[in-house]
Amino acid sequence: MQIPDEMRNILYANYFGYVCTSDRFDQPHLTPVFFVYDENSHKLFFITNERSKKIKNLSENPNVSITIDIRDPVNPFNNEGVMAQGTANITDRAPIYFLSEETLQLYYDIYLEFKSKYQKVIDNKPMGENDVIIQINIEKMVYWKGPHFKSLKFKKDSQVIS
């Protein structure tokens, strides 16, 4: 599926995403992450330690949002960014030989994506023992540039509805 170019460019050209989760008391939690966007499935992925607070929050409340942006300290009119809201799937946390074919494939594909995107920083470091891949099913996206906003909503099958 196609999302507007300006959103796509932001998702592909930036290295840091800011993930916000919240616990059952509605207390938000915010961390910077490395992420990849997969155009075909229209999903965002990030890798995190399964013992992190994010995972604890996501198992209590799967709603998640992530912001990816370009910041200009001088001219606010150049500030540009995307916030995606949706729900998170935590891929199986079982040991690797118990994972389904599908999950393994996903791990493999996503890991390759990460590797090519973050080659400079992660070199050939394999995924950590306690690392899990989080998949964000995007339901809504907001794009801004300077004072201009654009908002998109997606149906379950990732069709743009507004």
Binding site: D26, P28, P32, S65
Partner: protein
């Protein structure tokens, strides 16, 4: 220092009284109240028996009232200091341990200023031919009355001494703490909560000083004592105010985080309503103590925060060329949204924040001011740009891949 040595922090007077029944049977705080209440009852009883003037009984009651108020203020010291968490700086921790040690020393230094006030006072009262005693008790008063009045005078003098003692110590502690804070490295600091405790104790002492004004009518005929009370009042009040002010200038963030917050340009604010989260970049300022950010009146996050003021606020330094040098601090806690209603009380902090915004983001301020912008973006403070203060209860700090929880 082991547990048994870290005894209950008590002063000599309270310790002695605490051993006599019935005072030994009830909690410390109530025993002081009961003791002073008994003093009041005995005083009134003696007053009737010996036919004391009503005005004198009123003076006596006033003195007891002052002693009660002083006790209530000063008794907050020990419990507050007992729940004090150790600062994350060896020097600052040593200082506060020393402070506590002197304050509640086994040699009971705290009784010294009380005695220094009590002895000359009694001498003055009985041998210097002042007519105060006669004014209070009439001519040739009964020895029981004299003993009772002496006890009351000791009660007052002892606590005056405590007031002087605690406020001098507090000032010393604040000055030292401020100096030590300037030499902190990395994550050393005394947490916010503890700094606020110290400040609260100082403010208590300010009231301690002001309460002594109630003693003035008792000494109105004696110019010297009247002046002494005034001097005492100014001394305790001003010393404590200065101490509280110095504490308010001690940074509550460790230098690593302080510098990050001070130098970074952008932050992200995460909010949540009914489990749906929202995260956007914001511009913010830091005045050394408080963190403020700005939002448009139309912003979604503002509407969320008005219903759930819990937030996560993240400031980071991002650099793809060396991610092991990346730093981030996340503050979780609540926000205070400033509105028109806050203008009367907080105008200065609001203007201060606005000034900081203009200084930190001059281009923003210029560009936001143009009238061609949508209304929500125009930098008309309070009317369309809302000032929000972050009040953290917890800080998580990342340095490279290392995650550290920093007490607030």
């Amino acid at each position: 220092m082991d547990k048994s040595e870290k005894k209950e922090m008590k002063w000599i007077y309270e310790e002695i009284v605490g051993r006599i029944p019935p005072f030994s049977l009830i909690s410390y705080k109530y025993s002081i109240l009961l003791q002073l209440f008994l003093l009041l009852v005995i005083g009134i009883f003696l007053g009737f028996v010996f036919g004391i003037k009503q005005i004198s009984m009123l003076y006596g009651s006033l003195a007891i009232l002052v002693a009660v108020s002083w006790s209530l203020l000063i008794l907050q010291l020990a419990p507050t200091l007992r729940k004090f968490r150790a600062p994350l700086s060896k020097d600052e921790n040593d200082l506060l341990e020393r402070y506590k040690d002197i304050l509640f020393n086994r040699n009971h230094y705290e009784a010294v200023p009380g005695l220094v006030i009590f002895i000359p006072f009694m001498f003055y009262l009985f041998y210097q031919g002042t007519d105060l005693l006669e004014m209070w008790l009439g001519k040739e008063p009964n020895i029981i009355l004299i003993l009772f009045v002496s006890l009351l005078i000791w009660d007052i003098c002892y606590r005056m001494g405590l007031g002087v003692w605690t406020s001098i110590l507090a000032l010393w502690r604040s000055i030292r703490l401020k100096r030590l804070a300037e030499k902190r490295t990395e994550l050393e600091h005394t947490p916010y909560t503890e700094l606020r405790y110290l400040q609260k104790l100082d403010i208590n002492n300010v009231f301690f000083g002001i309460i002594s004004l109630l003693l003035l009518p008792i000494f109105k005929t004696d110019e010297l004592l009247f002046t002494v009370i005034l001097v005492f009042m100014f001394f305790v009040t001003i010393t404590s105010l200065i101490s509280a002010y110095i504490i308010s200038k001690v940074p509550w963030l460790p230098p690593d985080i302080y510098d990050l917050v001070n130098e970074s340009s952008f932050a992200y604010i995460g909010t949540s309503l009914g489990g749906i989260t929202h995260v956007t970049p914001v511009v913010y300022v830091f005045d050394g103590q408080k963190i403020y950010f700005n939002t448009s009146k139309e912003a979604k996050k503002l509407k969320i925060m008005q219903q759930n003021n819990k937030v996560a606020f993240l400031i980071d330094k991002r650099d793809m060329s060396n991610i092991y040098e990346n730093k981030a601090a996340m503050f979780t806690g609540e926000v205070k949204i400033y509105g028109l209603m806050d203008i009367p009380l907080r105008l200065f902090s609001m203007l201060g924040a606005l000034k900081l915004f203009m200084k930190k983001y001059p281009e923003y301020t210029k560009k936001y001011s143009t009238s061609e912008l949508p209304k929500a973006w125009q930098l008309t403070p309070i009317i369309s740009r809302i000032l929000v203060e972050v009040k953290p209860v917890k800080i998580i700090y990342w340095r490279g891949a290392k995650q550290i929880s920093v007490p607030v």
